[in-house]
Point group: D3
Chain length 206, copies 6
């Protein structure tokens, strides 16, 4: 691992600051917010900066992660890798460094594919994905950049690739949620943790 995640947690602004706003100290956070952050650290080995940056406002933090989990952790017609593809493609269009780097890492892991995230971030039309997922990303990108022009024909195109209307809601809602997330990350100048860059790129050693 490139950095020591424990020191990253305790000294988040040691080198480059993680945000335009001061990162709160864990011990000053409300109990539920701190617990959530520690649980993520337990699972990931480090605290993603989005947690610390948004914890500056605990109420918004709670709503943000409740929304995130409702969309990204649920069961449904989309695989978890497909959900991450939507995040990476639309965050690329919004030029959000944090979300492309962090969710690129998660996409590599969920898809068990070390190449896919970079392809989707730059130009999903050229990525190694089947037509079904190209249609999914066409729809997600229209939600991200031209939602005013969405029309019945766009949902029809999804149906032709086997997506239900509930799947369409999932795709749209993920693109919409990261429209919010990308803007907050760009506003706060949220810095991706160094750990994300390499995650999922190197096959685990036996």
């Amino acid at each position: 691992m490139l950095t020591d995640s424990r020191s990253a947690l305790e000294c988040p602004a040691m080198s480059s600051p993680i945000s335009r706003f001061p990162a709160p100290r864990l011990e000053n956070l409300p109990e539920d917010v701190r617990a959530r952050i520690l649980a993520v650290q337990e699972k990931s080995g480090f605290v993603p900066n989005v947690c610390l940056v948004l914890a500056h406002r605990p109420e918004e933090f709670r709503a943000f992660f409740a929304y995130h989990d409702a969309l990204m952790e649920k069961e449904g017609g989309l695989t978890k890798a497909e959900r991450e593809m939507i995040v990476v493609a639309t965050s690329g269009a919004n030029q959000c460094s944090y979300c492309v780097v962090a969710h690129g890492a998660i996409l590599r892991i969920r898809a068990k594919d070390p190449l896919l995230a970079d392809q989707v971030a730059v130009n999903y039309r050229k990525a190694d994905i089947p037509p079904r997922e190209k249609a999914m990303l066409d729809f997600a990108m229209k939600v991200a950049v031209a939602s005013h022009a969405l029309e019945d024909a766009d949902l029809e195109a999804l149906r032709r690739h086997g997506f239900t209307d509930e799947d369409a809601w999932d795709i749209a809602a993920i693109a919409a949620f990261f429209a919010l997330s990308n803007r907050m990350a760009n506003f706060t100048a949220m810095r991706p943790n160094d750990e994300f860059y390499l995650m999922g790129r190197v096959p685990k050693q036996p």
Copy 2:
């Protein structure tokens, strides 16, 4: 009042549907979701369609309104009318009929001004607002349409008009939240309730 809100609640799709998705029946909703909807109806005299449309997914409904309230109902450096101005201006840029019409109504009421909402929706640069609020909307619009290009100079411009960095977060977070909201409304083809169009336009009779 132009329509009978009670029948609107019970028969939301009588004439034009309120969404591309079927509106749930109140009695089928989880207790907390139904309670919130009934509380809004009690206060407003009708159920805004956004409540019924999003109740299709109770978990997302809860997160959406928790986020909404954290940003729009809180105390802070921005007045409630200013918050609504941000919603109306950015929703106009995103061509979101529901949010322009519904929050236009709320803006008229909060600002006690029957003209302001239409001005802000079409072109806030020509609206009857002081330079401080023009600066606020310049910043909000950059969050809405070009957040990748936000830089320190944009925050500096806010500070010159007396905004604190916490105010900047409020402005950015409201613009970001309605980036989500506008996309969901455009995706679902969410229909503004007829009641909104006239609210706040006619002075109350003595």
Copy 3:
């Protein structure tokens, strides 16, 4: 009525100026220009600011209103409400406050519909209009924002909805004329009269 239209005529700049340019005094205008303005006042109960702002240049005033009447008052395949829809939709795209507010009022009256104008101004694709009028506005918007790309297929699409080529000329000419009008209103910072905002929203009392 929210303001006294007579005083609005005599003191157009009492509160906010109606234009970046000084409004001329009625008694200093050429006879034909004054007569036209008084006729409008007689009919509407107030003088729309566009008349006073453009009367600054009588020759341009005469050509402007001659063109306007040739397009908006004529008989033909388009109803008067349809003509106003074209004005409201394209003026929304051009972010022209004066034309959206003033012609929004006229649209409400001509269509006898208190809701339609706000819908068309924000996003005509979601307005309560039949496919024929969506096709009409698709064409008008292409004239307004991408006329260089107009091609035979665009006229063919109109014909499929029953429009003749003379109707196509009407649609294009109205969109083109308000391309001019929107730019003059934006240049002069033309202020919509307060009277327009409420016109056509409240059913007449018996």
Copy 4:
């Protein structure tokens, strides 16, 4: 001369049609419209196609040319060559072949410069014009493509180059009028007369 203008007048659609609409026959036009066309022919040696194309609708024809003359033939702070520069630059931005070719010819003649029109049509920032005229075209282009964003600072920039506010009106009104004209020419697929291409390029022989 490349073509025989008399036959061009009598047989306007001999080779390529001059418009998507049938050109009217001179003898069927109202007397005043025909007289104006014949006067132009007398002066120019041929009938510009814009006359025949717009004569399809005599009332609009009259308003169009009354407006045109009020802006292009008047005395004032702008030279006639400067007025034509505004036409050529904004028509280039709108990709209007007719106006670039026809007014390019007039610009060459009015400016007594065989090179200027092509420079202004492609990229006025690189044209051989002094800073005053660059400022004029900066303003005209903002009227043409982003009039919603015009602000006091834009007029102030003109004043710094010696333009009065009446000059600003002239610049804006010409850009606005050709916003109309470009859209009508693009809609009708108006064809520039062959004569225009060479006019003003070759010095008159002694």
Copy 5:
């Protein structure tokens, strides 16, 4: 001829400079670069400014013209006039004065048509060209302005007009090469030689 080309060669910056960078003196250039320039002068009667401007960097000069000749002088499915059309249309979209003026001249000569270049530069959709060449320019323009969105359907459209895939490469490569060339000309503020403006416009006298 409007200017004396010999003096243009020896005193390229006599009146207006031909570039933001100093033009090298012929006698200081490497032998092969000088030989190429003299050969062009021999053939054309003057030295196109692009030669002098790029000779500032001999290595880049050599690669530029090797690439240029590989694309523009080769045999193949496209006529030389068609190649120049691609240059003129895409250079117009990139607002490159040098390439529009210089290659406009070459297009007039190669197509033996005094009108075509101006038509293609402003709006190729309205130019006097058959559907095959419209399809060619549709493809070239997509390469020029939205190459990320190219897809199999775009090549399929070319094939329907009889273009082979090798022709598609030619079209794409010419549009790509002039993407480079336009940017260098815009960066250096490269000035078109006066000679180009009139070339190919006047039929040769017998």
Copy 6:
């Protein structure tokens, strides 16, 4: 290493094709082209697909790489890492997967920084680079996406950060060359070699 580069060379289209066009066989290439490709293979351990894809046209291949080397391998005011930053940032703007992935790898190696390339590809404004390099990339991006609007002030901004006008040429020429390169890669659907994705991310073991 994720794949066996030797088999990649011999069987470039085993899994996904490296281009829309057939890759030539090494033994069929002209001697100088083959020699260059083998030299790259010797140095890198694999053959970058750009070599094989462009070798389809040997003359263009030679010009392309001569130009490339003249810009990327030369001495001068810019470091080699800075040159690669320009490539990565502008290729990101052009959504060119091949150039972002391949030159991202080279940037990591030249800058000895495993994080920089991903930052620059998504949004260079947020990358860990000093103001001098932000100014360099501001200029490069203007060359890439709006070269028509370049003006003296843009060069002045570079000078304020210590860049000479020769450095400005380097920056502009690299951005211009990759405008060409990105379009060819997007046209051919050029596939980045698997090897690039991981290069420069993992510190060498002692």
